[in-house]
Amino acid sequence: MMTLILRRLLALPIILIIIYTITLTLAWAVPGNPLENPEKRPKPEVIEQMNKQYNLDSFPRFYISYLTSATGIKYASDTLSGQLQRERDAASAQDTPLPARPIFDLGPSLKYDDQTVNEIIRDTLPVSITLGASAILIALFVGIGAGIIGAVKPNSLADLSTLAISMIGISLPSFVIGTVMLLIFSLWLGWFPIAQWGTPKSIVLPALTLSLPFAAYIARLTRMGMIDALGADYIRTARAKGAPERSVLLKHALKNAFLPVLSFLGPATAMAMTGSFVIERVFTVPGMGEHFVNAVQNKDLFLIIGVVLVFATMLIVFNLIVDVLYKWIDPRIE
């Protein structure tokens, strides 16, 4: 177990560097300068100055400078070499104390003048995590419930209707479902607030909408797993020894049927937490998903790399957690 965790954690930086390289290369290849703004046309010397300031004029220099400041190497080396102290002293001598500097510096946002990428992620990631985790929770309960019902009586009316609902959940785009829900539950019935993230009430609708495709997928996975398990010998044994049906289903069969769901849970959680752009738009949720799309549109280089790296890290970490849980729940796995 420890070696698994260790191996994964060691692989993490390497994977991230590869992802960083690919993302930067792609983002760099997009034509147009991130500082060019059709609404406000900065003077050429401004663009030149900012290019210099952020190393936007040279790929290798940008590559190295971003890597060293994002990983904290720059901070460490500046501290060790005494550079940081020198700067601090110089600043204090001028009566302008140096503002605090983050250890892992993901750079400034080129689009939002007053924000750094660190701050944007700090403000938006918790929101996305709340929304994503709530959605996966709902998806788990709904999906597993529906899956069990379907598996107990395959091809019954209950099974077919859960199948139908899950097909709708997978195929209907979330902006349609979201808008309809908003209309019915917020505007007509007035049960939930509109566009005010923050209260538990305000999470319900977006989380529900976001959970639908995941719930549908989990339902199908559970149903398949349950049908397989219910036909297995150990279930017949359990029933033969007189175990109550509820315990047969939930204790014996579900345990095996749950494993595919669990392995789906890793990427699904990461996906739900970061890829909810459409839902965030419809329900005005101030999450990170929006920056995934807008940063690319705005060519906000630092922000693009920042959110991609955060997403990659989450994907890897959640997969690791799932793998650890997997092994713990089912010790047969090597």
Binding site: D95, E119, L140, I194, A195, R281, P286, L325, I329
Partner: protein, 642 residues
Amino acid sequence: MYRMLVPVLLLLALVAASLLSDRPLPRADLVMLNASEVNTLDPQRMSWMHDLRTARLLYQGLVANDVLDDDFAIIPAVAESWTISPDAKTYTFHLRKDAKWSNAQPVTAHDFRYAWRRALLPDLVSDYVNMFLNIKGAQAFYDWRQQQLEDFPDRPFDSAADRQRAAYELWEQTKLKFDDLVALSAPDDHTLIVTLERPVPYFLELCAFAVFSPVYEPLVAPYERPDPTTARLLRKPGWTKPGVLISNGPFILTRWRIKRDMRFEKNQYFWDKDNIAIDSIHIPSITDPNAGVLAYQTGAIDWIADVTAPYRGDMVAQKQAFLDEHAEQVAQYRAQGLDQFTIDRLLPNDPRAHTHAVSSFGTYFYNFNCNPTLPDGQKNPFADPRVRRAFALCVDKRSVADEIRRLGEPTASTLIPPHSIAGYTSPAGLPNIGDAKDQAERNAIIAQAQQLLKDANFPDDFIVEMAFNKDSGHDLIAQAIAKSWQKHLGVKTKLQQNELKIFREDLKTKQYMTARAGWFGDYGDPTTFLNINQSSNGNNDRAYNNPIYDQLLEQASTELDPAKRMAILSEAERIIVEEDLPLIPIFHYATIYMFDAHKVTGLSTHPRTKQNAYLIDILTDNKGPNQPKPMRHNAPAEAPSP
């Protein structure tokens, strides 16, 4: 079995933890909505309308506009009085002693000097640096610093440490140079003396502009230091954050989460805090225009400052229907000279009445390329003013405003929205077929236009290209205009729709024949509109060049008598809108607000569309005087005393 519950419990813990750490605050006294996210709270770097509006909550300049006065008069703010020298070049401001920063420190003349120096540094590239170049010596200082920065990379240095030292030395030198060159001095903490290069009759208007607000040097300076390799000041974000920002306005920033919300609380150190009727302001960030309107309807929002929902035309139409139902009363109130928000408050409350179309300080127009030749080298018929006049006559402005825009916007025959600048009389402008009283007048206009084309030998089969950017309904307007030109002038038209970026590029490089455009004024003087037609102006996208016009503007800039100066400027605008027509004014913009006039008061109906949210009083709460604040006519002039 129970192990299966662990992932569920983990997720549950995650949700619970984030909910607990993110408790919502109680509803603010005023919840308002901007059209988009605030870009920056650094006053010297601002240029967006909603940024400036937010800045007026946080910072207070030397003087302010009285937005509830019909004349938009200049009133004292941090400066309690001022004197102007007889040659109209030297302004001496006397700062009030009780003006304080939000950390209880006094606001001094040095704070203004520091902020204005920031705005004048080429390093920090303020969008409005031109306004500061009016100060004597400012141009010289700007050029000097610019030259030093350009030369710096070529200077030889032995080591990086030397280079760094030189960068810091240059910065010290720059500060001394500023003291030396720029006629901006603070003889004591409460006196600021500024001398201008030449008289600028609207200089106090500029001082009321948020970009002229002070910033607190001990806070800002640490975030700006010379770059060791280029010697330019590097700007780090960070000082405009809640808990960090120190400001001198009616409110302080207590929360700013990107794409989520901003929150402001009353500044306990603000000298005039007793006259602020609300304690807190919340500005959520709702980018979806539709969601904003829905949230307003559920009562979560008190004021939407710019409704952009696609169906806003219908909202305005419903408002009109509501007004029509009470036509008699409305006419009566209007005859009494009441402003539109007051009338709304006096009428019965109705959800339809919450929509307000407010005239704006901006105009939508069509540009002509006035170059003698077109981009393809052939002769440009639009170089002839008669042709431009003919085309201007045959635009049905009424149908553009009433049938396409549908926002109750007035059609425009001038570039400057009439009645927006005190003391300025707008010229009449040309008639247009849409505003003709009857068919006879309409026919006469058309005949006149056709004659003009004939006189100018307008080529047959000439295809008029009309450029516009996609989105925002510009295509519909272009189609309507094209149709009336085809019908009445018998010309062929070709519509060119482009991405905003390409469209702008074409405009700047004059790769067009006619193109849509718009302009919003920055300060309360006709020159904010008229300067864009000066032959040397960077915003002269029309390549318009009339020495008489340029000379009139030049003459106005040296004229010390305000009335005479306004007359000269009015004559200049008359040339633009009656004779030369480098552009066709189509309509003056309106901004659509949503608020309940029975509940919210303190908003201005003045066409300058400058709102000071700190003047708002919620009539239904128990705070403040809860007295309606109507627009005031001919407010007593607050004469500055020495």
